[in-house]
């Protein structure tokens, strides 16, 4: 939960900076980008936390890549110099836009749904867990009617 709280605070601080002039306001986009990254990844970690279980490699890989593309895409968009008429293109777009659109907007499509599918049994629900869940549910129902 610490990550979720810190991510939320990052976004909140980003909004606070907008009420101040430069240079404070300049920190806003960085705080917002960091806050979003932390919030998204921490929510995923919270949702995939399992009793006594280590997260499978496919999930760890997926989350690491997600963190990297978010940090890389937002970081590049904020850090690299603005484009000019002579700026080179990367896959048909100026470099900053290409890194943001292909990185943040497209790359996760290639690995995140697969990471979800491959780690499904371990991080979401396995057949045995569903069976056990339904058994316990039936037990609770029987206890209630007794």
């Amino acid at each position: 939960m610490r990550g979720t709280l810190l991510g939320t605070l990052g976004v909140a601080l980003a909004y606070v900076t907008a009420f101040f002039p430069a240079p404070v306001a300049g920190a806003g986009p960085w705080l917002m980008a960091g806050g979003i990254l932390l919030l998204v990844v921490s929510l995923l970690l919270l949702a995939t936390r399992r009793k006594g279980g280590k997260r499978p490699l496919s999930l760890r890989l997926g989350l690491t890549l997600l963190g990297l593309v978010l940090a890389g895409g937002f970081g590049a968009a904020l850090l690299l110099p603005p484009e000019t008429a002579a700026s080179p293109l990367l896959l048909g777009l100026p470099r900053r836009a290409a890194l943001l659109i292909y990185g943040v907007g497209l790359a996760p499509v290639l690995f995140l749904p697969l990471s979800y599918a491959l780690s499904f049994d371990a991080t979401v629900l396995s057949e045995a867990e569903l069976r056990e869940f339904r058994r316990r549910l039936a037990e609770l129902g029987a206890e209630r009617t007794r």
């Binding site: 939960m1 709280l5 939320t8 907008a18 929510l43 048909g92 990471s115 979800y116």
Partner: protein
């Protein structure tokens, strides 16, 4: 969020026979599916949760169709044409948000639905916190957003019908409303999801074809970028002409806010086998990315063509799609695309009608301790009532519609994300935290949007009311839950079972 208001001005659509024939064929197929599904609707479970018999393909495509409204086809390309690539920050989160909602909410909502036979999203909040008050407050917040969302969508549908068939706007609104109500009242969400699947496929196919046409007309992405870069490099900046904070704020609201959209989350209850959630994010994400290609392609090619002098500047940004279709694609593709626009609007309207009707006929009576007897009949009547109310609002006042329509997504996000997304994954969340966060989200959104709409106070550049309200609601939930932890009763055993799974 005013950038996201749906279509409110007349559209200039081509009235060629091929366009009209395609639109008419689309309407007939939708009606046939609606009638078929209506005959299979026999219980409240069928009406509100499609009898829990959907597969992952139907779930993914229907969820995509409900998520994307007509804005994707008309307002989205227009927004990109006017503010540049920054408009994409609204849509970029789609690459991760479906996985986020699948991991964070899909399993728990589906299993909680099975354990307690839940019908609505406020139901889940009520059960999680053992609190009719939280359920009722969530339902009220949803209703406020739903009436506005519905009114703007019905207005947009009226504009499309008027533009195609010259019915006049008022008649167009009522024809569109009657068409959606015809299958929504009879078949509820069961009719809705099967028409959504057809509508989603139409949307994806039309978007893919139009995107390819845009690349062909523009000479490829590189040629379009080179033309724009030479004259307006800021257009191709990652934030376009928006401030970086504004662009990132869009990403925050639409990336995290997806965890509070009841018309989409509600569909998780409908899945037949929870183990088949495995492929849901892949199907939903691919369908969404293909459908979103249109706004990227059309917004970019129209800007490039105007800069090259091949087209005069557009009178209104929202003309980007109609002008592109008129000039550059065959009438059959144009017809398919306009069917796609109607499909996007109708699928969204049906979903909202259903969750709105459920709030009226199920959540609010439960919250006051007086559940209704015949839930199917009451649900149908509530669907009819909310549809007529929204159409009346759409027809009565353009200003009111514009105001109501601007904050739907943000209001859902601010009121539902903390209690739902965090609450179903963290046992530390408390009833007081949930009620306080829903109240803060609702209050902050309504006050902020009203002050902005009446021009009494404007937030600094880059700060959106919806983003601010969402962050305030999250902090309220975490803070109040921490403070009230000691006095919170134990979770019900079945709820605990779901949270621990």
């Amino acid at each position: 969020m005013s950038l996201l208001a749906l279509q409110t001005a007349p559209l200039s659509l081509p009235r060629q026979p091929a366009v009209l024939l395609t639109a008419a064929a689309y309407a007939l197929i939708t009606a046939a599916i609606g009638i078929w599904a209506s005959r299979r609707t026999r219980s409240a479970g069928d009406f509100f949760t499609a009898g829990r018999r959907l597969g992952p393909f139907a779930l993914g495509v229907a969820a995509m169709a409900s998520t994307l409204s007509g804005f994707t086809f008309i307002g989205g390309p227009g927004l990109l044409y006017s503010v540049g690539l920054g408009a994409l920050l609204i849509f970029l989160p789609a690459s991760l948000s479906n996985c986020l909602s699948a991991w964070v909410l899909a399993k728990r909502l589906r299993l909680l639905g099975e354990a307690r036979n839940l019908l609505t999203i406020p139901d889940a909040i009520g059960v999680r916190y053992n609190s009719p008050a939280a359920q009722g407050l969530a339902a009220v917040a949803m209703l406020v957003a739903i009436v506005g969302y519905l009114a703007t969508n019905l207005l947009a549908l009226g504009l499309v019908i008027d533009a195609l068939f010259a019915t006049g706007l008022g008649t167009g609104i009522w024809i569109g409303t009657a068409a959606v109500l015809a299958y929504s009242v009879g078949g509820g969400i069961l009719a809705g999801v099967y028409t959504d699947v057809f509508q989603g496929l139409v949307m994806a196919m039309a978007s893919g074809l139009v995107f390819l046409a845009a690349l062909r007309v523009g000479g490829g992405l590189g040629q379009m970028s080179a033309a724009i870069l030479a004259r307006e490099p800021a257009f191709l900046a990652p934030w376009g002409t928006l401030a970086p904070l504004a662009g990132l704020s869009f990403f925050f609201v639409f990336g995290v806010g997806v965890l509070g959209q009841p018309h989409v989350l509600h569909k998780f209850y409908m899945l037949k086998d929870p183990l088949r959630l495995r492929w849901y994010p892949l199907i939903m994400t691919l369908a969404m990315v293909v459908t979103l290609l249109l706004l990227f392609g059309v917004g970019l090619v129209m800007k490039a063509e105007v800069i090259r002098g091949a087209l005069p500047p557009l009178g209104r940004p929202d003309d980007a799609t109609p002008v592109f279709l008129l000039r550059f694609v065959s009438p059959w593709v144009a017809g398919l695309l306009f069917a796609g626009v109607a499909a996007a609007i109708m699928s969204t309207v049906n979903s909202f009608l259903n969750v709105g009707a459920a709030a009226i006929s199920h959540d609010l009576p439960q919250a006051v301790g007086r559940p209704v007897g015949n839930a199917l009949r009451t649900g149908r009547l509530a669907t009819l009532a909310i549809g007529i109310l929204a159409a009346s609002v759409a027809q009565a006042s353009g200003t009111l519609v514009a105001f109501l329509g601007i904050f739907g997504w943000g209001l859902f996000a601010a009121t539902l994300v903390p209690a739902l997304a965090i609450g179903l994954n963290w046992k530390g969340g408390t009833r007081a935290g949930a009620i306080a966060s829903i109240g803060v989200g609702l209050g902050a959104t309504l006050v902020g949007e009203t002050l902005g709409f009446l021009r009494i106070y404007a937030l600094p550049h880059g700060v959106t009311v919806s983003g601010l309200a969402l962050v305030l609601a999250l902090l309220t939930y975490l803070g109040v839950s921490r403070l009230t932890r000691a006095s919170t009763p134990e979770l019900d055993p079945d709820v605990k079972l779901v949270l621990e799974l």
